[in-house]
Symmetry: C2
Subunit: 375 residues, 2 copies
């Protein structure tokens, strides 16, 4: 592992593969399992950094694809890197752009050299190579950077998946060569679609190259949930136990709870922030669609068990009013709450692992059903 | 003056009518001249109450018209009043709805009884009478409430203006009778369009009835600027010196500076908040249109002389990026800055008055020209 980031496994659960740990980065220690809110364009939408900290956030994800296109990584480099630019002094991880290119850009053509795509902003044509992906992420200066990967859509045949794995491995090697900053940790990404054989082969090969951490990519792209967990469980077992394992983009609460049981340490997802903006609020058990007329005169806090700023200061009736009146503060208050919900969930997860009782915690969580278990 | 709100004139300028004072309300003391940011729908757009406090805001204005229509004043009453509803524990003033009805509703018909209007939200028909205006404002529970007034558009003939003055005076009397809460201060509103004779007559009659403060209404509706100041100067002279004087809705920095010289103590305006949302930022002298390409790589704070959160933490390049990328945080950071600019302006105004040098301050401010002097 590079000098910048260290991972220490702390406690292991008794009946599952779950474990707690600490990821030590140049921007502070991060307790794992960790959930990273997504700050796509240099901001977690609607939130100040202080609000993230108050909610307990220790690490944020930034999107290379977006920042490369706007404002441009060279501008961010010139302004002192993404930490300074967005006023976030805790840990940062940037993705490589591979997934965003897959999900956002108009045209996408994968060649051996890299990914050609058209900007979703102005239609301009770009080629991201492994070297450029490293160069951009170096400019952004995150604590953890990701290899460029080829993320195929759901349902590809074995041959296509195999080709994408080969490419992803080749690019991983090139990224490893291209990375310059010793303070940045580099994670490899396991692809392989829904083919366990490809997944384990990819994991093995990445392990041989040696990375600071390993991500399982290409999930949450439309596959059935049970298939996703099968792949997570299968792949995690092939990854080195001493390194952090990261499932990219999966993030309903129940998904996190289950993935942790297979030894996953890191998560990111837009679900808490995006749901918040649509007035879909995570509470302990109950599903709150805050625009609902039943909350019109409801003077209770959103979640009586929650300690977030929103729940301490405002009624459901006020939140509903802000959403109905289309006031921006609605989004801010809702996002604060959902992020805090996720942070408390991670606290509960770590606590259960610490007690060696994660299996029971998970069983109860799944049995409870409800909103947190929706896809 | 009622038991709730007291006004104490503190210092008087030597060469102008400017004065400083303290408005003591059940929700804290307010230094005058004061600027009140507008919280139309139970929130100053994009800001948490803590941000307003950090910017130095001591009093906020709420819009009766909007809150009456949505969520409804009875809901706010039930939830403990507007202070509790919106989590604002400092002073609050609510307008009567008269001006908002004039500027927003689809149909507006003024009768002797009150104002009939169609909701801008759902087209429903409503009649606001003086009694209802008081009842709504009692439910909202602001520290200062306003009489219902008939605000004619710019350019009305003398007879129409006279009719609106008569109505406004009759309604002022009815509001005075209808107001129940001794903790709420009630302000009368002087109408009279651009006719000094009508303005002084209205001021005299309100003075005889006796109110806790006096507002000059019906300005900033399209009249030439010099006419506005003529009316302010003329009317202020007829209002009792021991009571607070409030010019409703006027609010470019230079307007405030000039109006203060005629003895005006209170202001409200959407300019700082609305401009912020459009990326128009007030700085000490320079006009900043933050989307401008010249700020693309500008690592300086928005205003090097400003102590606001935004200027302490972010570069112009970051603010520009957020605006260009249409990120909501842009609006939050810009609003924080513009509000702080206004609060610092009021501090400078009070300081100059305290030193008896307001005339010089004003002259310099006007001479400087630039953005702050734009209409």
């Amino acid at each position: 592992m590079d000098q910048g980031v260290k991972f220490i496994v702390d406690k292991k659960d008794l009946s599952t593969q779950a474990r707690t740990g600490v990821l030590i980065t140049p921007h502070g220690a991060v307790s794992t399992p960790v959930f990273m809110p997504v700050g796509t364009q240099g901001t977690v939408k609607f939130l100040l950094p202080e609000m993230l900290k108050e909610a307990g956030v220790e690490m944020v994800l930034g999107n290379t694809y977006h920042l490369y296109l706007r404002p441009g990584h060279e501008i961010i480099r010139k302004l002192g890197g993404l930490h300074t630019f967005m006023n976030w002094d805790r840990a940062l991880l940037t993705d490589s752009g591979g997934f965003q290119v897959y999900s956002l850009s108009a045209l996408r053509q994968v060649t051996e050299e890299g990914i050609i795509f058209k900007s979703h902003i102005d239609g301009s044509k770009h080629l991201i190579t492994p070297e450029l992906a490293m160069n951009i992420q170096e400019a952004l200066g995150a604590d953890i950077v990701m290899c460029l990967d080829d993320c195929p859509p759901y349902g590809v045949d074995f041959a296509t998946a195999e080709r994408s794995v080969k490419r992803t491995l080749k690019w991983a090697h090139l990224c490893r060569e291209a990375k310059k900053l010793p303070t940045q940790a580099l994670f490899g990404i396991v692809q392989g679609a829904c083919y366990p054989k490809l997944r384990s082969r990819a994991a093995e090969e990445l392990k041989v190259m040696g990375f600071d951490g390993y991500a399982i990519g290409g999930l949450s792209v439309g596959e059935p949930k049970e298939m996703m967990f099968e792949i997570i469980a299968h792949t995690a077992a092939f990854l080195p136990p001493s390194s952090p394992r990261y499932v990219m983009g999966a993030g309903m609460p129940v998904d996190i709870v289950r993935a942790v049981s297979f030894g996953i340490d890191m998560f990111d997802c837009v679900i808490p922030t995006r749901c918040a903006r649509h007035g879909l609020l995570f509470t302990n058990g109950e599903k709150v669609v805050i625009r609902n007329a039943r909350y019109r005169e409801d003077e209770r806090p959103l979640d009586e068990t929650c300690d977030c700023y929103t729940c301490r200061k405002y009624s459901r009736a006020y939140l509903r009013h802000l959403f109905v009146a289309k006031e921006a503060l609605a989004m801010t208050l809702a996002t604060i709450h959902n992020i805090r919900y996720y942070m408390r969930l991670m606290e509960r997860i770590r606590e259960s692992i610490g007690k060696g009782r994660y299996g029971e915690f998970m069983e109860e969580f799944i049995k409870k059903g409800g909103w947190e278990n929706d896809r």
